[in-house]
C-alpha cells in the first residue's frame, strides 16, 4: 500500500513538473525563430533557375569511388536530408565514407512555367551528373531519389540506360499511379480541368500543393499541435517537431507544364508503369533499367502507398534488385528517429557493397 501511495505521489509530482515546464517552454516555443536546418557544410555547385546542386564536404579520410547524388522531390526543400546534426542522412552518409551531392529545388518563377518532365529528367539530372563527374573526376554515380525525386530518377535511368548511373535507390517512389487513392479521386478527369488550372496560374501555387497533401490527413495538423503541447517539456521532441514543421510549411510551388504532364501522363494514363512514357522524345520504359536497384517503402505511407511503389521491382530488368519495407510514414522514413534506426543503415550497407 505504501508503494502504491509513493507511486501515485511520484506521478503527481511528474505531472506538476511537466505542467510548469509546458507553461515556461511554451512561451519560448512561440517566441523562438524558425528551427535551424541544413547545417552540414556544403558548397553550391550549380545555381540555375529552380535548380540547385550542393556538394557536401567529405567527412572521412577516404571515400567510396562511386559518389552519391540525392534527388529531392520537386514539392519540397532538400534539407529534409539534412534536418539537424544527428538527424541528417547526408551527415550519416558522409561519416560512412560517401562523397555526397544533393539536387535541391528553389521555387520556380513564372518564366519557368514551361519546365516539364523532360527538363527535369533530360536536362537537370544529366547536367548535375556531368558537373559532378567534372568536379570529382569520377564518372560513376549512385542516385537516391525521394518520392517524386525517385520518379524523376527512375525516368532518367529508364531513358538513359547507357548513362553513368551505377546504382539507383528509390525511397517511397510512386510508380503505379492507379493506387494514388484520394489524389486520383480528386483529380478525376471528369471534374478536374488541369488545363484550365495550369493556363490560369502558370505556376501551381504552394498552397494548392499543401492542400492536396493535407486534405488526405485532415486531422494531422491539429493532432500535431496537441502532441507538441503535451511534449513541450521534452526539448528533443520540440526541436525535431519544429524542424519538421518548418519543412512542411516550406512546400514549393510547381511549374505548370510539369503538373499538366504528371496529371495527364502519370496520374490519368499511368504511362510510367505501362512502359509507354516518352520524355523529350526518348522512350522511358522501366524495363530499360538494368542497374542494381533498391526500393524502400513505408508501411504507413498515405502519399505513396505500397500498391503504387511495389510494381517497380516487377517492371525493371535488373537482376540485382531489392525491396525493403520499413515501419513509419512517408516523411518519418527519411528523417527522424525511425529513419536513423531503420532506413539509413539499409541504404548505407546496400550502397557500400556497390560503390567500389
Amino acid at each position: 500500500m505504501a508503494d502504491f501511495d509513493a507511486s501515485i505521489a511520484a506521478q503527481v509530482n511528474k505531472m506538476m513538473e511537466r505542467t510548469i515546464s509546458r507553461s515556461i517552454k511554451g512561451l519560448d516555443y512561440i517566441r523562438a525563430p524558425a528551427a535551424a536546418v541544413g547545417l552540414t557544410p556544403k558548397n553550391t555547385v550549380i545555381q540555375r533557375g529552380t535548380l540547385r546542386l550542393y556538394h557536401y564536404q567529405p567527412q572521412s579520410p577516404e571515400v567510396y569511388r562511386v559518389l552519391v547524388l540525392l534527388v529531392m522531390a520537386t514539392t519540397n526543400k532538400a534539407y529534409i536530408f539534412d534536418l539537424a546534426p544527428g538527424q541528417s542522412l547526408v551527415e550519416f552518409l558522409l561519416k560512412k565514407g560517401f562523397d555526397v551531392f544533393v539536387l535541391d529545388w528553389e521555387a520556380p518563377q513564372l518564366h519557368e512555367r514551361n519546365l516539364d518532365l523532360a527538363s527535369y529528367t533530360q536536362d537537370f539530372i544529366p547536367s548535375c551528373l556531368r558537373t559532378i563527374a567534372r568536379i570529382t573526376g569520377e564518372g560513376d554515380a549512385s542516385i537516391i531519389g525521394y518520392c517524386m525525386g525517385g520518379v524523376l530518377s527512375a525516368i532518367y535511368a529508364a531513358s538513359n540506360p547507357d548513362g553513368p548511373l551505377k546504382n539507383l535507390v528509390c525511397l517511397t517512389t510512386p510508380i503505379d499511379w492507379e493506387g494514388m487513392g484520394l489524389i486520383r479521386t480528386w483529380q478525376d478527369p471528369r471534374y478536374f480541368d488541369v488545363d484550365r488550372l495550369v493556363d490560369s496560374v502558370g505556376i501551381v501555387p504552394a498552397d494548392f500543393v499543401i492542400q492536396s497533401f493535407e486534405m488526405q490527413r485532415p486531422a494531422q495538423r491539429v493532432a500535431g499541435q496537441l502532441r507538441i503541447w503535451e511534449q513541450m517539456w521534452n526539448d528533443e521532441f520540440v526541436k525535431s517537431f519544429r524542424a519538421f514543421e518548418r519543412w512542411s510549411n516550406e512546400t514549393l510551388p510547381l511549374a505548370g507544364e510539369y503538373v499538366r504532364q504528371i496529371t495527364k501522363e502519370l496520374l490519368w494514363e499511368n504511362n510510367l508503369v505501362n512502359g509507354t512514357l516518352v520524355v523529350g522524345g526518348k522512350a522511358a520504359p522501366l524495363s530499360n533499367i538494368r542497374i542494381p536497384v533498391l526500393s524502400i517503402y513505408a508501411e504507413h505511407d498515405h502519399l505513396a502507398p505500397q500498391a503504387t511503389v511495389k510494381p517497380l521491382m516487377e517492371k525493371i530488368s535488373s537482376t540485382d534488385k531489392k525491396e525493403v519495407m520499413v515501419k513509419g510514414g512517408h516523411v518519418s522514413t527519411i528523417a527522424g528517429p525511425n529513419a536513423v534506426r531503420r532506413m539509413w543503415p539499409v541504404v548505407e550497407s546496400w550502397l557500400a557493397e556497390r560503390s567500389v
Binding site: R48, V63, F192, V346, S355
Partner: protein, 123 residues
C-alpha cells in the same frame, strides 16, 4: 499479471492518436465521394475564372497607362532565362574540355579508395 496502468500523459497521447485516426477515416470516406470531388473542383474552377478575369482587367489597365504587364515582364525574364540556359551549356562544355586536361589524381579531396567493412550485412 495485470498490465501496468497508463500514466495520464500516455492516455492523452493514445486519445489524440485515436481521435486523429477516426477523424481522418471519417473525413476520407466523405472526401472520397464523387459529390465531394465535383463540389471541390467547381469551387476551384470558379476561383480560376475570377482570377483570369482579374488578370485580364489588370492587363488592360496597365496597357492603358502605357506600362508593361506581368506577361511582358515574364516574356523578358524568359528571354534572359534562355540566355542563362545557353550560357550554362557553354560553361558546361568548356568545363568538360578543361577537366579532360586535369588528371583525376590532381583533383582535391580524399582518395576514392574506401572499401566496405565486412560487417555490413544489410537486411
Amino acid at each position: 499479471m495485470a498490465d501496468k496502468p497508463k500514466t495520464p500523459d500516455e492516455s492523452f497521447r493514445e486519445m489524440v492518436t485515436d481521435w486523429e485516426r477516426n477523424f481522418d477515416k471519417f473525413a476520407n470516406q466523405f472526401m472520397g465521394t464523387e459529390t465531394f470531388t465535383r463540389g471541390m473542383n467547381q469551387v476551384q474552377d470558379t476561383q480560376m475564372v475570377m482570377r483570369k478575369m482579374f488578370q485580364d482587367f489588370m492587363a488592360k489597365q496597365l496597357e492603358g497607362a502605357n506600362m508593361p504587364s506581368r506577361e511582358d515582364v515574364v516574356n523578358l525574364a524568359e528571354t534572359v532565362h534562355g540566355l542563362d540556359r545557353r550560357l550554362a551549356r557553354i560553361e558546361d562544355l568548356l568545363a568538360q574540355v578543361l577537366s579532360n586536361a586535369t588528371p583525376a589524381r590532381d583533383r582535391p579531396g580524399p582518395p576514392r579508395t574506401k572499401k566496405p567493412s565486412t560487417s555490413t550485412g544489410g537486411v
